[in-house]
């Protein structure tokens, strides 16, 4: 059994895009709740305790976002109280709560996504779309530390020569400009040398392909199929308007029928899938270890 993050980058990307896309375009509070529960459960099962600062900042952001809407928007018919001649309505408050849940749940999913998808995996996905773009990106990723090192070297040598005083603001701005100038010239020349060397080795002779260490296995295809089927059910329920939930002017929920419930259950399974797999693999691991 493999956890989600050991699968092929493309199937991971499809999974996350489906989960976040549905959460982003839905207005139904039940869906928001499902998305939030799934994201937090997966975050906790994957990372354990800790990350206290991040959770705290998300709680603060949640409060701010939830309270922002009723202060700005005055739609809705149920007036709770009046501040400075501006009515604060129940509908606007609930709408803000709903939006805040959506945004925070997506921020959790995104945090998980960037924890799982390291830059090398993202390059693999870009390589499948456009090998040339992936090449540019991976070269830039390499250039960043290279330039930083070079800037440090240039800076040190300029100081050693005795060009600049360190206690003078104007002088230090001059120094930074000078170092930047030197590094830029060096970087462009270095780039040309890189290009020459690439050409000498036969770049641009054939069609560019991309290298990937991730094979597509059986589990990848299973995950892709599950994602497509479940999100398909959910999206079609949304497209048929079974999940539209109106806040203004009055809260009106649609009549729940089998289709809407099916979509919600589908999305529920989809968001809970990674935490279930994660727990399952942990159980399996403990079980195998206890046998030894």
């Amino acid at each position: 059994m493999q956890t989600i993050e050991e699968l092929h980058p493309i199937s991971i990307t499809i999974y996350f895009m489906a989960v976040m896309g549905i959460a982003m375009f839905s207005t139904n509070p039940i869906m928001m709740g499902l998305s939030m529960t799934g994201a937090i459960l997966y975050f906790l099962t994957r990372n354990g305790k800790g990350h206290f600062k991040m959770h705290l900042s998300f709680v603060i952001l949640f409060t701010v976002l939830a309270l922002m809407n009723p202060l700005v928007s005055h739609n809705g018919i149920t007036v709770l109280f009046v501040v400075n001649d501006n009515p604060i309505t129940l509908e606007a408050f609930l709408y803000g709560l709903n939006s805040a849940t959506m945004i925070i749940s997506i921020l959790y999913w995104l945090r998980l996504f960037s924890m799982i998808m390291t830059s090398e995996k993202i390059l693999c996905v870009f390589g499948a779309i456009s090998p040339k773009i992936a090449l540019v990106l991976s070269m830039s990723l390499r250039f960043v530390p290279l330039f930083q090192n070079q800037a440090k070297k240039v800076n040190d040598s300029q100081k050693a020569v005795g060009y600049f005083q360190s206690d003078n603001i104007i002088d230090s701005i001059h120094q930074k400009m000078r170092v930047f100038d030197i590094v830029l010239t060096w970087a462009l020349e270095n780039g040309i040398i890189t290009a020459n060397s690439m050409e000498a080795r036969g770049y641009s002779v054939g069609k560019r392909s991309h290298f990937s260490i991730h094979p597509i296995r059986k589990n990848d295809i299973i995950l892709m199929l599950i994602t497509c089927i479940l999100s398909g059910v959910c999206i079609s329920a949304m497209a048929w308007g079974k999940m539209t939930f109106l806040f203004y002017p009055e809260i009106t929920a649609p009549e729940t029928d089998l289709f809407a419930v099916g979509g919600m259950i589908g999305y529920g399974i989809l968001v809970l899938l990674p935490s279930i797999i994660q727990k399952g693999t942990e159980k399996q691991w403990n079980y195998l270890q206890s046998k030894i």
């Binding site: 976040m20 982003m24 375009f25 207005t27 976002l65 922002m68 809407n69 700005v72 928007s73 939006s99 945004i103 997506i106 921020l107 995104l110 945090r111 996504f113 960037s114 830059s119 993202i122 779309i129 456009s130 090998p131 040339k132 773009i133 090449l135 540019v136 990106l137 070269m139 830039s140 990723l141 250039f143 960043v144 290279l146 330039f147 930083q148 400009m177 100038d181 830029l184 010239t185 970087a187 462009l188 020349e189 270095n190 780039g191 040309i192 890189t194 290009a195 690439m198 050409e199 770049y203 641009s204």
Partner: protein, 228 residues
């Protein structure tokens, strides 16, 4: 990716999609559909624009030197984003667009958004940042001749680009929060973003004023000497 064999049809599509298809798509989306679809429409529109550009770039034969120079400039933008208050990215992207060409300007803008968001956090907003910065570079490339000749004009362009960038990203913030466009929320978002907008505009003027000459000379030299 998408391959259309017939070259006449391809040229026709290349002209018709950005000039007629895209505005029609946006207008239709904003007038005919319910306002809660605005987020979906803007998202899909931005994504298609980027995909069209990428497929075009992928199919075209680009010189190796140009590719490497683009990645050098992208790395420079990435490092520049770490400066505390000021934002030299707009200036770098503008200069790339002016001196190397509009396509390279777009690429540097779009890719430095992806690259720096490895550090600052990827998200759905990456797509809008890619498009906004890419357009700054692309338009700078189109206006290359007047901008090259007149430094004041270049600085004005930098300031306007910074302000427009902030405005576009605030539209996205409102759409994300509210699904549809809400002018009240948008005004509030703009007001809370005033320090950022000012910093973008000021750094556009400052960096273009400071760097236009040395930067431009270097890019020009590389271009003439090595024939990019």
């Amino acid at each position: 990716m998408i391959i259309i064999q017939n070259s006449k049809l391809r040229h026709f599509l290349k002209k018709i999609i950005p000039v007629v298809g895209f505005p029609a798509f946006v207008l239709m989306g904003s007038t005919m559909l319910n306002e809660k679809y605005h987020l979906a429409i803007s998202f899909l529109g931005a994504l298609t624009a980027l995909l069209l550009f990428v497929t075009d770039f992928e199919k075209k034969k680009t010189g190796t030197r140009r590719i490497v120079v683009v990645s050098v400039m992208t790395a420079m933008c990435f490092i520049g984003r770490f400066l505390p208050v000021l934002m030299p990215m707009t200036a770098f992207i503008t200069l790339t667009g002016v001196y190397i060409g509009s396509e390279s300007g777009f690429l540097v803008g779009a890719l430095s958004a992806v690259l720096s968001n490895f550090y600052f956090g990827q998200g759905p907003w990456t797509i809008f940042q890619m498009l906004a910065w890419g357009m700054i570079g692309y338009i700078a490339g189109i206006l290359a001749n007047p901008l090259k000749r007149n430094l004041i004009l270049l600085m004005v362009y930098g300031a306007v680009a910074g302000i427009l960038y902030s405005f576009i990203m605030d539209i996205w913030t409102v759409l994300w929060y509210n699904k549809g466009m809400d002018w009240n929320l948008y005004r509030n978002a703009l007001i809370t973003a005033i320090p950022y907008t000012v910093s973008y505009a000021v750094s556009g003027i400052l960096f273009l004023g400071l760097l236009a000459k040395p930067f431009g000379e270097k890019l020009e030299r590389i271009k003439i000497k090595y024939g990019i």
